[in-house]
């Protein structure tokens, strides 16, 4: 007997029942690749049947903002619009309308919907450190790094815990480079005039 929905990652062959939830490795019956398969009850969970909004029978009944012919069942917790079961998007126990969910995702108000972040602290630090290899570039990159570090000081960094050390280092390096340039320009000017 084989559970055909679980396939060997190497050969796509069906995995035998004997390979499931074993503490040790079991060879794949097709390619002999040593495998360990751990399955959980979610594998047997049937997909929930899609819900359909209930039609309005009485004229005085509250209707869905997006579907005026459907009965409203609850309000959106962000904007207060009435929603039918079709428009109700549940997220961590809260109910939103699709528009608020989209706005929350775009404006990064709902953290659990975020799929991407730019690491401005790493960018600022690279901008402050990497051009040191060609020092004359720092005339432009040092102010740029300083601007970026200050501009994005309060911007969200990585979703996992991350300190502001990169921003501090970027500001320090960029400031030192700017001071260096100021001193160099001052000496060049005073030497030419003196």
């Amino acid at each position: 007997m084989s559970l055909s929905l679980l396939l060997c990652p190497k050969c796509n062959g069906p995995l035998p029942e004997s390979a499931i939830n074993r503490p040790d490795l079991t060879p794949c019956p097709v390619c002999a690749s040593p495998l360990q398969v751990e399955i959980f009850p979610a594998l047997f969970r049937r997909a929930a049947v899609g819900r359909d909004g209930e039609a309005v029978l009485v004229e005085t009944e509250s209707t869905c903002f997006y579907h005026p012919q459907k009965k409203a069942v609850l309000p959106c917790e962000a904007c207060g619009r009435f929603l039918c079961v079709l428009c109700d998007c549940e997220l961590h126990g809260k109910h939103y309308c699709p528009a608020c969910l989209e706005v929350g995702r775009k404006k990064r108000k709902i953290k659990s919907l975020e799929t991407e972040r730019t690491l401005y602290d790493s960018l600022a630090l690279s901008l402050a450190v990497l051009p040191l290899l060609m020092f004359y570039l720092t005339f432009i990159t040092a102010p740029a790094a300083l601007y970026m570090a200050l501009r994005y000081w309060n911007a969200p960094r990585s979703i996992v815990h991350r300190s502001k050390i990169r921003l501090v280092l970027a500001i320090t390096f960029a400031s030192l480079q700017i001071i260096g340039w100021v001193i160099a320009i001052y000496f060049i000017i005073t030497k030419n005039h003196g």
Partner: protein
């Protein structure tokens, strides 16, 4: 001090297998009710969340990479260290010693990390490779850590019930019906198989 939202499970590992200059790294983090996979190129991060209630299976495969790395680095280390015994030039001994020492270090680290593996996580709609779980020992350790969380989110099934449900599963095939051929046929022609993301 505020409690951290995520706890690190694995360090960042390159997604590409033989990357010297890596195009991206992947790491795994443990959240309150989900696993977070972070793919980063150093300047941007992409997040994938796998909620405990949705994880259906982990598929772990032992790979031969460990053996190959041991053989290659062992041979290179020996290749650089052995000539030192026959060389009279001090500068040559230094150069060969440093290079041979580096390969020896990689060889020892590879041995210490143990057998390599590839791990896939399966949900109802995706099959995701987890490149950061690339050593068998670490994968098992993290799986031991995750198991109680998944059981708490999904409930536990005794082994005998799991097997009875596997038999009832629409995708399962009886060995009597298909015989040994289903085991040796290789690729499965099943329209119910979810799309594979590799």
């Amino acid at each position: 001090m505020a409690e951290k939202e995520y706890e690190r499970l694995t360090r960042a590992r390159p997604r590409a297998r033989f990357a010297v200059i890596s195009s991206g790294n992947s790491s795994l983090w443990l959240g309150k009710d989900h696993l977070l996979c972070i793919d980063t190129n150093g300047y941007t991060e992409n997040y994938k969340r796998f909620y405990f209630r949705d994880i259906q299976a982990f598929l772990i495969r032992k790979t031969p990479r460990y053996k190959w790395w041991s053989v290659v680095t062992g041979l290179l280390a020996a290749g650089f260290l052995l000539p030192i015994a026959f060389s009279t030039e001090v500068w040559l001994q230094y150069i060969f010693g440093v290079v041979g020492g580096l390969f020896s270090l990689i060889f020892v680290i590879n041995l210490a990390l143990g057998p390599s593996s590839a791990c896939q996580l399966r949900t109802a709609v995706q099959l995701e490779e987890l490149p950061s779980l690339n050593r068998l020992r670490r994968t098992r350790k993290e799986l031991d850590r995750l198991r109680p969380l998944l059981v708490a989110a999904q409930g536990a099934l005794p082994p005998e019930e799991i097997f009875s449900r596997v038999r009832e599963f629409p995708g399962s095939e009886t060995s009597s019906a298909s015989g040994a051929s289903d085991v040796t046929s290789g690729a499965v022609e099943d329209s119910n198989v979810p799309p594979r993301i590799i």
